[in-house]
Symmetry: C2
Subunit: 228 residues, 2 copies
DNA sequence: GTCTATAGTGTGATAGAC
DNA sequence: GTCTATCACACTATAGAC
């Protein structure tokens, strides 16, 4: 980029450094968790003095917020990748697995995103603006599926789609959260729990083929659903 | 207690003071969360010097552990109260509600019990002894219900009872955990989510009467059903 | 912009006098 | 047993020289 004014050069450099800080922060968080990301440690890692950090971020919390948004963006991207799956049941299946996989693959990031007391990643302005809740965007993709399922008459008419979406979300979050914090939940492997949860909230019709009329029985993985 | 030897007197006093410390700790945690329970603050609250605390507790973590066990004991007690409910479906219903109510009524205690990174309330010896996981006792009461349900042929034969129990537990935990951390989950009231979850994991057959044959549809006791 | 130096506050835990 | 005093840290954030 040869023809750049001094002004552009400056801001470009700034952006790069900000990105660098963020990158190192991300690594530290991934390895040791946000709790152990201190400004000193971060400064040492990027080979600057602690004070320099405050030229790019107002506070430690702002770094948290940035990393949090990054995480949500990544998660949302993997969700969007599944958007192309036509069959809503199969899509739901894929999204659920993806969600849990994300949590298990990056426990500390997941913690920062979903398991930290609310205030951490919030700007004062965000507190007012409800739409800023970043999880909402992701959740809405799940909700969409339930809307479709409902439209295709695969859902009992009394169940509100968004409520189902939140219910399933809570279920998946519970699985991840318990797994991350306690060595417990030892009895049942996570994969099994996810299967069961999908069955519970919507028998998954794993066999790609929607058949609305027939009583649900999705034998692919699980031969029977007599409970519903 | 007039006829108490000096020895007994001593240990009795010790026990009382320990209880006092624990009581104040409990209050602080309930109000401000365990994170903000410092030895200094605690000492001031009981009007002793910080050093005195270490005569009764080896460390701050040991206080955490004690409070944690207290919490589990309380929760388990409310569960045991429901044990007398004969109909397993109704019992499951009651337990689930109780669980969530507990979490919402005492968020900070719940956090300490279930949402804190594992190491907090663990003794080195506990780490080895798996049975020491205190949640296990509570969970087993839920598992029992599923065993009964299975025995009564209310459950599909492929579903392992303990797996179902853990699945439902994860679901309830997810509801509580999301509610405690984010102001989000705004769309659907918690009560509704719990209803849906119970329906999902086992349509509750609230109408006391087990009827294995009929397809489950349980609007009996819950008039509020519009959402479901 | 970047540094050094430091203010200011917090923490858990302990030594040693009384 | 209880206290005072303190160790040995950690932290965020800022002031002021260069």
């Amino acid at each position: 980029m040869p023809h750049m004014g001094l002004q552009e050069r400056r801001t470009e450099q700034r952006r790069e450094q900000r990105e660098r800080i963020l990158g190192v922060s991300r690594d530290i968080v991934k390895r040791e968790g946000f709790a152990s990301l201190s400004m000193r440690k971060l400064a040492e890692a990027i080979d600057y003095s602690p004070a320099a950090l405050y030229l790019h971020f107002r506070s430690r919390g702002e770094i948290a917020r940035a990393l949090c948004m990054e995480g949500h963006a990544r998660l949302r991207e993997t969700f969007l990748a599944h958007t192309r799956i036509a069959d809503p049941a199969a899509r739901l299946n894929a999204m659920a697995r993806t969600y849990v996989e994300f949590g298990l693959a990056e426990p500390e990031t997941y913690r920062l995103m979903f398991m930290e007391p609310a205030g951490l990643a919030e700007t004062a302005s965000d507190a007012v603006d409800k739409a800023a809740e970043p999880g909402a965007a992701t959740l809405s993709l799940i909700a969409d599926v339930f809307v479709e399922l409902r439209a295709a008459d695969w859902l009992p008419p009394h169940a509100a789609p968004t409520a189902c979406a939140e219910g399933l979300w809570a279920n998946l979050h519970g699985i991840v959260a318990l797994k991350l914090n306690r060595a417990s939940l030892p009895e049942t492997p996570v994969a099994t729990l996810v299967e069961l949860s999908l069955d519970a909230w919507f028998a998954p019709a794993n066999g790609t083929e929607p058949r609305g009329t027939e009583p649900r029985s999705n034998s692919a993985t699980r031969p029977d659903t007599s409970t519903r």
